[in-house]
């Protein structure tokens, strides 16, 4: 389908008086073929143009005002008061909750853990997802099967995931350690050592989300015009070079999207580390307690809702900072080797 014929298809669809001509868009002089005499129609069209965007985005904002705004304001309000989960509202204490959080060593501990797990999970995830998408972007046989099967991890129920990975990464009787001992290596203390626990948790996260991100990349890759690859091939570029110089720059918006979403999601990792041990506190030394787990502990175990809310907003700030940094970095990377 060429550009011209698709224009015909679009414009020719029912009801439009002059739309049946086949001349390419842009080549048509304005105001020539259609009488735009009626001011009423003109005004309607003007309102249409001005208001439509607001109309289109309003469902999100309306719903957000209902179910999103109130929780946000509530959390902010709670964070500046003494507030117990069961006891309810106390005195207004300004930023004291925030100060208490910043003075708490477990906050910094959780921050360190969060960043560590984030780095260990996001970077491999994005890279592998890109490669995977590149592999799937070829003319495979049974392509649907391949594409859908990378999503399978996403449908396994969390209860099952915890059980399975708990058995895989068991310190004493786990599968991985049995295999390691089988080939003569020392077992790794997955639940005890800090870095090992981060690796295990990052594996769980990556297992679940890589296929997901790969499909997002794939959709974007499939929108890349094939002629670009052909001309690159003619210029002598091999497949890898084509990937770096054609594919990556062309999917830049999607790449930025995935980077931002991975950052936002990766700094909020909650389910996997929580299920990694029975207490839900992140290990005997809180060695894998993330910021959201710390938040949860403050809210539901220590039951200090004020402090928990302060953590929520601090985490928000941290995420914004990281997202901006990652955005800047990715913009740079995305333009390497590209003509964009």
């Amino acid at each position: 389908m060429t550009l011209e014929s698709s224009a015909v298809k679009l414009v020719g669809d029912g009801g439009d008086p002059s739309g049946a001509t086949a001349s390419p868009p842009g080549a048509r002089p304005p105001d020539e073929t259609r009488p735009r005499s009626s001011p009423w129609r003109l005004r309607l069209s003007l309102w249409d143009t001005k208001l439509s965007p607001y109309l289109y985005v309003s469902p999100f904002f309306l719903l957000f005002a209902l179910v999103g705004m109130f929780p946000l304001l509530y959390t902010a309000y709670v964070s500046v008061h003494e507030w117990g989960l069961l006891g309810g509202q106390g005195d207004f204490i300004g930023l004291e909750n925030y100060a208490r959080v910043v003075e708490d060593r477990y906050f910094w501990n959780a921050l360190r853990n969060t960043v560590s797990i984030f780095v260990l999970s996001s970077i491999p995830q994005v890279v592998i997802a890109l490669v995977l998408a590149g592999l799937l972007d070829t003319q495979l046989r049974a392509s649907t099967l391949w594409r859908m099967s990378v999503l399978i991890p996403f449908v396994v129920a969390p209860a099952a995931v915890a059980l399975i990975f708990g058995n895989v990464f068991g310190d004493r009787y786990g599968l991985v350690n049995e295999a390691l001992q089988g080939i003569g290596l020392e077992p790794i203390r997955w639940h005890v050592d800090t870095l090992a626990s981060h690796l295990a948790i990052a594996s769980m996260v990556n297992w679940r989300w890589t296929g997901y991100n790969a499909l997002i990349f794939l959709a974007a890759m499939q929108a890349v015009p094939r002629e670009l690859y052909e001309s690159a091939a003619i210029d002598g570029a091999g497949r890898v070079r084509q990937f770096l110089s054609v594919t990556l720059p062309m999917i830049r918006p999607t790449l930025l999207f995935v980077v931002i979403m991975s950052t936002i999601g990766g700094l909020q990792i909650f389910a996997e580390p929580r299920l990694f041990d029975t207490q839900g506190l992140g290990g005997s030394d809180r060695q894998y307690q993330t910021l959201t787990m710390y938040l949860w502990e403050l809210g539901w175990r220590v039951r200090d809702l004020g402090m928990a809310s302060a953590v929520a907003w601090l985490l928000f700030l941290i995420i914004i900072v990281f997202a901006l940094v990652n955005l800047a970095v990715s913009r740079r990377v995305g333009s390497l080797g590209g003509r964009r």
């Binding site: 786990g174 203390r189 029975t278």
Partner: protein, 414 residues
């Protein structure tokens, strides 16, 4: 446009699927009972529904105690959404006693003396309000592997074994003998469990009678800490964490020879140790007696039918009904009248070598001298305590370092 229509249709269908009505179609009052784990109430609820016409009862079961607790706390905070009867675990009592205003005072002359003293006392506020009716308890005996005992040249008969377990020192000495004879098997399943049992026998462990935190200065607490950590050094502990996958696997791998055994643990052992022969239970507990777990039924003031809910709770926790629950799911009754019921006294457990478990646990229940005092900070300090012990087990810190960290945690919580 077709998509929009479909959307509207499904949304209307969804609206009609709502289930928020309080009165049933026939004008009966609907009561919900929220429980967790297994209370054994399924048949009882059917019986209650059949035997009267004013009320229809429905049970809402959460999978784990933690989920139920999170749900309960969330709805207490939100101010609405609780069921008419909410089951609670004894460990949460301390926190909820702070909010006793949120629960109906269930005192009633009719139920006076229904429960074991220490059970009812724990749910009574300083002003004398009873906020929970006791359901079950967890009196502890010691479960042991008679086959492993035999291997170590120790007695295997229940009565003989019981003699070895009367005090903690005797229990640990037996453990030392055992590990010398059978070196690659630990004595008990987890350091944390032993520590827990010992803490539960101290009347004022982490907090004193006025709820001041005394954990840092209480010599009894330090004593227990030192004992448990040095025992782990001696090899008596598996150094595993209870309920972890490794711990579950250790049942099948001869990980340990004894463990503290409340009534509800019997089912757990039977499940985890499927195929293992030689489990038995001794009618003894070091230090006399101990209780682990147990629940209550409360009636939140949020509910709209408090009187009916109270009547239902009264009925459910009557000795006769608790015995039926015991028959269904093994929940051990907290009512002395139930403890004398032939169903209980005659109950045996095939997996545990046909031990008269009903009788054993009844005697253990009566041997519990008191319920330890648990103030508002108890659960958090206890968690820190357990974590400190675990750190020593895992080799992350030495015993001294772990104690210092524990003290820092106590200060942070204080």
């Amino acid at each position: 446009m077709g998509a929009l229509m479909a959307l509207t249709l499904t949304m209307t269908a969804a609206a009609c699927g709502g289930d928020a009505d309080d009165a049933g179609a026939d004008g009966k009052i609907k009561l919900t009972v929220a429980t967790f784990n297994e209370f054994g109430y399924e048949d009882l609820i059917e019986e209650y529904n059949a035997m009267q016409d004013d009320v229809v009862v429905e049970q809402k079961k959460a999978g784990t105690a933690n989920e139920h607790q999170d749900n309960l706390y969330t709805k207490l905070a939100a101010g609405s959404g609780l069921s008419d009867i909410e089951a609670i675990e004894v460990d949460w009592l301390a926190a909820l006693m702070q909010e006793s205003d949120a629960f109906v005072d269930l005192s009633d002359s009719e139920v006076e003396g229904r429960w074991l003293d220490w059970k009812a006392e724990a749910a009574t506020t300083d002003d004398g309000a009873l906020i929970g009716y006791g359901t079950d308890i967890g009196p502890e005996g010691i479960c042991y592997r008679s086959d492993l005992f035999k291997k170590a040249g120790m007695p295997t008969d229940r009565e003989e074994v019981a003699k070895m377990f009367t005090t903690w020192d005797a229990y640990f000495d037996a453990g030392r003998d055992f590990t010398k004879a059978v070196p690659d098997v630990a004595w008990y399943d987890a350091s944390g469990a032993t520590a827990q049992a010992m803490i539960n026998q101290v009347e004022y462990s982490f907090e004193d009678a006025d709820d001041n935190v005394i954990a840092a200065d209480n010599p009894e607490v330090k004593d227990i800490f030192d004992t448990v950590t040095s025992l782990a050094d001696e090899g008596l502990s598996t150094k595993l964490v209870q309920w972890s996958e490794d711990w579950t696997a250790s049942f099948q791998n001869d990980g340990f020879a004894t463990m503290a055994c409340p009534g509800w643990m019997l089912g757990v052992i039977e499940g985890n140790a499927d195929g293992v022969k030689g489990w038995d239970i001794a009618n003894a507990f070091p230090g006399g007696g101990g209780n682990w777990g147990g629940s209550y039924l409360t009636v939140p003031k949020q509910g709209e039918h408090q009187e009916e809910a109270m009547a239902l709770a009264n009925w459910l926790t009557a000795p006769e009904q608790q015995v039926k629950a015991f028959e269904a799911k093994g929940t051990f009754p907290s009512q002395p009248a139930a403890l004398e019921d032939p169903v209980l006294t005659g109950a045996t457990n095939a997996f545990f070598n046909d031990a008269p478990t009903g009788q054993i646990l009844a005697e253990r229940a009566e041997a519990v001298p008191f319920i330890p005092h648990k103030g508002p900070r108890f659960a958090d300090i206890n968690t820190a305590f357990q974590q400190a012990i675990q750190r020593v087990d895992e080799g992350k810190e030495s015993a001294d370092e772990a104690w210092q960290s524990f003290l820092a945690d106590v200060e942070r919580l204080g």
